[in-house]
Symmetry: C2
Subunit: 353 residues, 2 copies
Amino acid sequence: MTEHGTGRRGQHRRAAPTMKHVAALAGVSVMTVSRALATPDRVSPEALEKVRRAVLQTGYVPDRNAGALSSQRSHIVALTLPTLANGNFADLAEGISDILLPAGYQPLIGHSGHSLEKEEELVRIMLARRPDAFVLVGTTHSRETSRLLHASGITVIETWEYTDNPVDLCVGFSNRRAGELAAEHLAGLGHRQLAAIGGSLDDTLKDYRGEQRLRGFRDAARRLGLPDPVILREAVVPIRHGQGAGTMARLLDDHPGASAVFAISDTMAFGAMMECQRRGIAVPRQLSILGFGDFDIAGQCLPGLSTISVDPVAMGRMIGDRILERMAGSAPRSEETAPRIVLRHSTSAPPGA
Amino acid sequence: MTEHGTGRRGQHRRAAPTMKHVAALAGVSVMTVSRALATPDRVSPEALEKVRRAVLQTGYVPDRNAGALSSQRSHIVALTLPTLANGNFADLAEGISDILLPAGYQPLIGHSGHSLEKEEELVRIMLARRPDAFVLVGTTHSRETSRLLHASGITVIETWEYTDNPVDLCVGFSNRRAGELAAEHLAGLGHRQLAAIGGSLDDTLKDYRGEQRLRGFRDAARRLGLPDPVILREAVVPIRHGQGAGTMARLLDDHPGASAVFAISDTMAFGAMMECQRRGIAVPRQLSILGFGDFDIAGQCLPGLSTISVDPVAMGRMIGDRILERMAGSAPRSEETAPRIVLRHSTSAPPGA
DNA sequence: CTGTTAGCGCGTTCAA
DNA sequence: TTGAACGCGCTAACAG
């Protein structure tokens, strides 16, 4: 018998109190402490009280990672977003957290910067924490990402886009449909020459969902018998307001014929509106602008921005609920949510009408 | 000998592959796999290759929680923010992530909704994951929060405010100083009757940092010999644009004398600008407006919003660096960063000047 | 209701 | 360079 284990750890900080410390202080076994914390009703009132006191005295906080190792349930839910600096995704994350945290699950948030390679790296890093469920924005992933997720055998929820062939579960909306909605709204107002501004088609950084919206927009315009919309893809994700202004400037310079513009996001739409204001173009009298996302700013700018809302907080809560159902053993179904138009004052009939 | 341990876990999903599986497949011991992944140079090229293949074939991802339990280093860094739906905090989080992730640390993000009680709960939940470091926005915490952090014995970094008495380390700026800067700028332009709009003093939901900015603003005005600024605290955190408009409306109705307004955040400032536009008040000719935060929108709206920047991404990176230094065994110092004015076009000399 | 035993997946330590 | 033993902190399973 060599004596391992005594003082074998090198220099390191004072350790946090463990269950053993609490048990010793309370004069009960470690198991009783464990039960007192997890299933208080299976412990005698006296033992419970002793444990409670010892916990308070030591400032003990259970080590859930150790618990996870033992119980094979980490109570971690991984969440990969394209970026945090986007109100919609932040709202989505808060919606998910609002449901999961009170239920004892810990969201683990990461951001991929709209890159599939970074997403794959992130998935690998997060899988190393053995989450009980994995939430991904988007349905486009690298082969290896899909394989890793599949091999992990955990619940996977894809969101922010709807697909009939999810890795596992899907809670999202059709971005094509959102684009169609945009075209239908503008056509309904009487516009014929439409335009759209969106993100670049850069090889590695791509807004796949935004691209779907643009396609839906174009296809709906065709279906409605309108000329093909002018589509400018110049913004680099993550999109900031300035990109909207720049792309709008290009549109006004090179394709002055359009009377209505669909912007891939409110962020771009606002920048576009400012560019119009700078040039003395009245919105919506001379030019209609329609956004996407119903960001906070859409309701505050002048004129109020007409936009398409997908209610990220509600979607997040729905995702949280689905995860809890799955954890409880039931088999929730995928769900397609419906984007809807929010009418404000940036769209109206075209000038000649 | 009763036979425990065989199939003792109840119904649960297909388990992820473990190091044992990889070792068996590679025909080496578990330890060799461990070393092949952690210290490849201490493993023979042949063994390394066998392991590498087995890893690829199984889609194995190491369990870092188990690793953490063994090594006593979780490589997790906890981060509590007031909210994700605030560009500054999102940027801060991304800045921290940008440094930590490549170094092998996993940020764990939570949001407290500006509530000290929720923060305490969050700290407890996050401590249960045994982070190697803890980052908190703000220097105001509940007694229990401070106690828990102290008892945990880990590195703690407070940010977004500077204090000489941090729990452990502090990387932040003086919010008072930011407020003073605002008053000095406006006074320098010739304004005498100043005003400020900020968050409510609700009992539980408080923007402590914003309040410090307001106090710095007031004190600097006094020091400069100006009449006391009118300060309206009506917005409820988290502040959205609409609150700026409402508070501005109240200011214009009840205190029409002020020629310059400092808004506690760009979000409020923008709402305030829109309210002015709605009323036909020209900014900055009739009224100057100064924001805080240098949010994306400040550079895009018209007129461009003069504001105070604290560079959250840089601060985040600084925090990440400090954490890595501490992990490497050195003793980094606290750092006070300096807020700075970003001049655009929403402030100018007062009407009569 | 309580305690004992065993083991979750890994890294540390020591021995070969 | 490799492997075996051991234990990190906790919970499942069982015995009392």
